[in-house]
Symmetry: C2
Subunit: 188 residues, 2 copies
DNA sequence: GTCTATAGTGGGATAGAC
DNA sequence: GTCTATCCCACTATAGAC
């Protein structure tokens, strides 16, 4: 295995960041190759499917990153209420650290491409399902009834996504913090 | 006053629909003028500020439409729990009626433009604030304490937006329906 | 108020050398 | 694996006639 980061990985990483920041249509392949530092001629070699394929792999990278972040965050406490609440508070803190200028993972690509690219829509769908599963698993481990845990996993995911979207738009972490505050009510 | 719809209104209405469906960058001014039926040369006469100004007025139109829809929906019952729950259920039903292909109001433009156009960001922010106020007012009328009503208004807004985004991406109204189901828990 | 033409830019994608 | 050149297309915006 190579120690150095190869061109393909650099392209995916940069694409992942730029798509999240600027959205799908506003991000050009020129900008991606330039900022990635990858050779300019290598894009269509690694991604014969062009922009769509690159976006697909970028979504998968973002999804894995976020998914790991959720699972790691939920390990902070055996109590699911404290763990999930703490996780959302962490997101709020992280949001403020970047001045609310970091973009919203997955959501931009999901909204822009769900109706025009079924592969991209499915990738975003899979991402969200994995997020939900992470919450659901935590609740199952804590003894929640199966169906209840599944439903709450989805609802928590919706709250976090919605709060992220609102905090981003308002330039203010209040929605994220308020969602964190309501977690105990929801999980009572 | 003119009985017929003027060109400016037709442009705003079409822009509002297309931006919601396709997003900001994927929607061209050519398509808007064509589908609106407005004279092709009239766009920059009515909107000297170009695409940004048109989008601004489109966001305001969408915002007013959604805001009225919320207020109207919340009038269905004096009980805030039933009213809000019924409203979210109505959204879910409406979502399914259009096969989940109607796009998400405000969110697409918010995500695509918040970092590149402060006027558009503020328009989206104002839209969300109005949505939140509608929920908050309902809770205040029902006797909820001021601060609690404000916080819940924001949280309900985040849940609806998040559920809309997830339902749209998953092509499934389940997130919206599950959020409706949790409203009584949240507002207990 | 509306029309046409066009400037000027940048997009995604391909071909063929190396 | 990488590079350069290039094609074709779409976009926003402006100028100037009517």
């Amino acid at each position: 295995m190579t120690e150095k980061e190869n061109s393909k990985d650099k392209l995916i990483k940069t694409a992942s960041r730029l798509f999240q920041l600027q959205g799908y249509h506003a991000t050009g392949l020129n900008q991606i190759t330039k900022e990635s530092g990858a050779p300019k001629g290598s894009l269509y070699y690694h991604f014969p499917g062009g922009k769509e394929q690159l976006a697909l792999e970028a979504v998968q990278l973002t999804a894995k990153f976020v998914s790991d972040q959720i699972k790691c965050g939920l390990d902070s406490s055996p109590d699911p209420v404290k763990a999930i609440q703490g996780f959302v508070e962490d997101i709020a803190a992280q949001f403020q650290k970047y001045g609310g200028k970091g973009g919203v993972p997955i959501a931009s690509i999901a909204l822009e491409t769900a109706l025009i690219s079924e592969p991209l829509r499915k990738a975003c769908q899979t991402a969200y399902k994995n997020f939900q599963d992470a919450f659901t698993q935590k609740l199952l481990t804590a003894g929640y009834e199966t169906n209840h845990a599944k439903e709450l996993g989805i609802v928590i995911n919706t709250m976090v996504e919605g709060a992220f979207l609102l905090s981003f738009t308002m330039g203010n972490s209040e929605p994220l913090r308020l969602v964190a505050k309501q977690i105990p009510v929801l999980l009572q």
